[in-house]
């Protein structure tokens, strides 16, 4: 019958079936199906038969017929692994204290490393949000001032046009931008002061803003503005912001033409809430339009986008003199040399010394990277130390396992499984710790960091490191202990030799040296902060408030405001100033004095103040007198600070006539240096003059008998009456001054946190080690006790070793700490000294902590009844 049919069952289906079906069923099943096939082919058609064959094959995929997987066929292996895990679990539970120390120490170290890693990641990804990151640069300049080279990030505004017209082929875009300025933004009655930039229309494209509404090309019209998403929401809620009208600084009317996604915390433009057209600002600002030499004020920024693959250095060299060619002879003395600062350098490499880049924040990236690496290293050392210390107690287990037939490779697998298990546990714990501590960390570090849950690199590094630590930590028991002869191990004659403790001691020394350096470092950071904070300010910042003025309303009614506030008893004095106390806003190069070297170009900060300024801030006049309304001539008088007098080399400055852009001014007094910029740097030679124009700030001295908040409420009420168009804002000068230490304080806080963790981890390590030693010497202690040793003798005996280790560590680390910290302090011109007592305190502290840690174990061991310890075996 089958002979009459040409076709055969589909071979592929047959093969498939044979592959999945149990071996013993293959024959009968194939036979049945083949019979079915020919029967169907006979009755219907060959094609139907084939189809039916497949149908039958699929219907054989039933549990009873399927081949069982190899694993379940031979269950030995899995049982073995389950046993490994079970034994590991039992050991963890049996030695609860050690397990806890081990996992806590390692997960703590890992958590620190992850946190620091995330922080570094965030720092290194700074500005990478902008897609043109690789080929955007800022045009900045080196200028020669007061005999040194300074680097300015600002530029005069015609520079952009000059670069476009004379060097246009080198750039894809040249963008002029204002500084990041605060502006009052008003929509109806709602007024908010926000930071923004006035820019040429293509900046959004260069910065690749992600538009939520409108497009990047919406700044063409002067009366347009792009808002950040959060600002748009603050004003218009869920309504469509596009087309809405706003007013900037009470004088510029604009329509919202676009909304962009908020820039992330790791962007140079993170605080920028709006972008408005440069043209708008230009049209509305008289002094810019009418100034006689627009090349003079360096108040603006120029950004460029380079074509891809352009050579930044070559273009830098090309444009070097672009400004020099245009400026007047007096400014040319400054030898302004332009160059390009690539976006990748803005954040991490922002410090220049004598015109040369000397790094910047990158040093903190290194600093924390090293701390993180060290803490992690310490945690690993501990982990290995304790793991190996414990594992020696397991020689007997190894003997028994060998006796009942365990192969060496099985023992190796067992110990590796065990240590990898613990490291994996620690990794999980550390991720949890990181997640819980991130809010605190972000606050201290001033960041918005989150765990990179979706980043494969993060997981790869994390898991790779976990496995690596597990393998290293497990290698001693796995590779060495598994090789001991089972007879010796079972007899209990196996004992680690004297030499076995040496690597462990070395590890402890390394650990303590690291802790030592970290402790000294933290102390010095705080000493430096304290030192700079105690530096005499040159004025009394107590109860001093700086209130920004964005309109001239207060200036016009200055006396009325002052009288009202004084009458209400909330202030004692009040003055106007060009800049807040904590910085100076303008500098001048046009200063001349008798005996000045004509080739020298200078750059003095200048502060325009009202008559009562000195009275208000309480500065100290050392020569001559303060400004006074009683002298009509004081409108052309100046006061110099001591730094200026020293710089000019005037023997008797009071009464001297100096010139400012040719105008003669009389020096009426000299004041003690007022710290206005960095507290770590010497005060710049500064010129104070009487300014009759509206100031940028009101500086008020509050009445010390009234509480600050009450006083400010009254001040706010009065200011708002006289200056209704501006939202009232203020800052306490002492608080603003403390903010200058923000960076150092942040570092101090972080360093404290990490150092405490490092100490904690070291202590855990030494604690574990001490308990191990105490246990090993139980019998010795018993014998000594029987022979009459006192508790104190025994404590001394056991603690001595550890104290010696600490002393050795400090000897190793003192020179290193000294070297590192002198380097760090040298970054600050005004810095504290590295006293010997810092080291002594650290050493004493470390010794006390160590002995305290060890004592718990040693005293416990020494108190045991010798009868019991001698009997035990």
């Amino acid at each position: 019958m089958p002979r009459s049919i040409k076709s055969t069952p589909p071979r592929l289906a047959e093969k498939l079936l044979l592959r999945v079906v149990r071996d013993d069923l293959g024959e009968e099943v194939l036979g049945d199906l083949e019979e079915k096939f020919y029967a169907t082919a006979e009755r219907k058609s060959a094609w139907k038969a084939k189809l039916n064959y497949w149908y039958q094959v699929v219907n054989y995929l039933r549990p009873f017929a399927l081949r069982k997987s190899k694993r379940s066929k031979n269950s030995n292996n899995i049982d073995m692994y389950i046993n490994y895990i079970k034994t590991a679990g039992r050991h963890l539970r049996k030695n609860k204290l050690h397990s806890f120390i081990n996992t806590a120490g390692l997960s703590g170290g890992m958590a620190v490393a992850i946190l620091i890693g995330l922080w570094i990641w965030d720092e290194l990804s700074y500005n990478k949000y902008h897609e043109n990151y690789d080929h955007v640069a800022q045009v900045i300049q080196n200028v020669s001032n007061n005999g040194e080279i300074q680097t300015w990030r600002t530029a005069p505004y015609p520079l952009a046009e000059e670069l476009r017209s004379s060097y246009g082929s080198d750039f894809k875009e040249v963008i002029l931008a204002s500084g990041q300025w605060e502006m009052i933004i008003a929509a109806g009655d709602k007024k908010i002061t926000k930071t923004g930039l006035f820019v040429e229309p293509n900046l959004p494209e260069v910065l690749t803003l992600k538009m939520m509404a409108g497009n990047r090309n919406s700044l063409q019209e002067p009366a347009s503005i792009l808002l950040s998403q959060s600002l748009a929401k603050a004003y218009f809620g869920d309504n469509d912001p596009v087309g809405q009208q706003l007013q900037l600084d009470n004088r510029m009317n604009v329509f919202v033409t676009g909304v962009y996604e908020d820039l992330p915390g790791n962007s140079t433009f993170k605080n920028v809430s709006f972008f408005a057209p440069w043209q708008l600002y230009y049209d509305a600002t008289e002094w810019i339009r009418t100034m006689n030499d627009p090349w003079r004020p360096n108040a603006f920024q120029v950004f460029v986008e380079l074509p891809e693959n352009a050579d930044l250095n070559a273009i830098s060299a090309k444009i070097k003199d672009a400004k020099l060619k245009k400026v007047n002879p007096e400014l040319a003395k400054k030898q302004p040399a332009l160059f390009l600062d690539p976006m990748s350098n803005w954040h991490l490499y922002s410090d220049f010394e004598n015109g040369v880049n000397v790094g910047g924040r990158i040093k903190y990236v290194w600093l924390f990277g090293i701390i993180g690496g060290f803490v992690l290293l310490m945690a690993c050392i501990n982990f290995m130390n304790l793991s190996t210390a414990r594992s020696e107690k397991r020689a007997r287990e190894i003997g028994i396992r060998k006796a009942i037939g365990s192969h060496r490779s099985h023992l190796i697998a067992q110990f590796f499984t065990e240590s990898v298990l613990v490291t994996c546990l620690s990794f999980l714990l550390s991720v949890i710790i990181v997640q819980l501590s991130l809010p605190f960390f972000n606050e201290v570090a001033d960041k918005q960091i989150a765990i990179l849950w979706n980043n494969p690199v993060f997981w790869m590094i994390g898991i790779g490191f976990t496995l690596f630590t597990g393998l290293i930590a497990g290698s001693y028991p796995a590779l060495y202990l598994s090789s001991i002869q089972s007879v010796r191990a079972l007899k209990g004659t196996y004992k680690a030799g004297r030499m076995a403790t040496i690597p462990r001691k070395v590890l402890v020394v390394v650990q303590f040296s690291i802790s030592f350096i970290l402790i000294v470092g933290t102390l010095v950071v705080f000493k430096q902060i304290e030192f700079a904070r105690n530096r005499p300010l040159g004025y009394d910042s107590n109860g001093l408030v700086a209130i920004p003025l964005l309109t001239s309303d207060i200036h016009k009614h200055f006396d009325a405001v002052k009288t009202e506030l004084t009458n209400k008893g909330v202030i004692v004095e009040m003055a106007e100033s060009e800049s807040p106390m904590t910085s100076t806003w303008s500098t001048t190069s046009g200063f001349d004095w008798p005996g000045k070297d004509p080739a020298l170009s200078v750059d003095f900060p200048t502060v325009g103040v009202s008559f009562d300024f000195g009275q208000t801030i309480g500065w100290e006049v050392t020569q001559g007198r303060d400004f006074s309304k009683d002298f009509g001539s004081d409108s052309s008088a100046v006061i110099l600070n001591e730094a200026a007098v020293a710089f000019m080399g005037l023997p008797s400055p009071v009464g001297e006539t100096v010139k400012w852009f040719g105008d003669p001014l009389k020096v009426v007094g000299v004041v003690k240096d007022v710290i206005a910029s960095s507290p770590y740097e010497p005060v710049a030679p500064t010129v104070y003059y009487v300014n009759n124009d509206p100031g940028n700030y009101v500086i008020a001295k509050l009445n010390p008998t009234v509480s600050g908040s009450d006083a400010m409420a009254t001040v706010e009420a009065v200011f708002t009456t006289f200056n209704p168009s501006q939202p009232f804002e203020y800052q306490f000068v002492d608080e603003a001054y403390v903010r200058k230490f923000g960076n150092e304080q942040r570092i101090g806080k972080l360093a404290t946190a990490f150092t405490s963790l490092a100490i904690f981890i070291s202590c855990l390590g030494i604690f574990g080690l001490a308990s191990f030693v105490a246990e090993q010497r139980t019998k010795e202690i018993g014998v000594r006790k029987v022979l009459g040793a006192s508790l104190f003798d025994l404590w001394k005996l056991l603690s001595r070793d550890f104290a010696a280790l600490v002393v050795i560590s400090s000897l190793v680390s003192i020179p290193m700490a000294y070297y590192l910290l002198t380097g760090w302090l040298d970054n600050y011109e005004y810095h504290t000294t590295l006293n010997w007592w810092v080291f002594v305190v650290t050493l004493a502290g470390t010794l006390v902590i160590t002995l305290a840690t060890v004592s718990y174990q040693t005293i416990r061991a020494a108190m045991v009844n010798p009868g019991r310890s001698l009997k035990s075996e």
């Binding site: 089958p2 009968e28 099943v29 036979g31 049945d32 039958q56 017929a65």
Partner: protein
């Protein structure tokens, strides 16, 4: 302990094995099932059930002859065991008892109106 109750499909297959006698192997049972009940069934389903019945002890099997139409492969012939027979009888008796308890059926005249 395996389930010793018979399902409907199981019962039919068990009977078919008895009917087919020497020829009771998966393919033939499936063919017979289709021709007797006019219902489609896959050989796999039949095989699976026969296998289960064997596990329950109602069937036993041994490898039989090889024939040409099955590519020279042997077939597995199933035969009913004593307990299989008992199970069938129990099942039949149970139904007969149910029938006899229903007066309308007992008369043999079904009148569903």
């Amino acid at each position: 302990m395996k389930e010793t109750k018979l399902g409907e499909f199981e019962e039919v297959l068990l009977l078919l094995v008895g009917i087919l006698g020497e020829e009771a192997y998966s393919f033939k049972v499936a063919e017979e099932f289709e021709s007797q009940t006019k219902r489609e069934v896959s050989i796999g389903a039949v095989h699976s059930t026969l296998n289960r019945l064997e596990e329950k002890g109602f069937l036993e099997s041994e490898m039989g002859q090889a024939t040409a139409e099955r590519g020279g492969r042997r077939k597995r012939i199933y035969t009913i065991t004593a307990s299989g027979q008992r199970a069938l009888e129990t099942s039949r008796d149970f139904r007969v008892s149910l029938w006899s308890q229903f007066p309308a059926f007992a008369t043999g005249k079904l009148n569903f109106g």
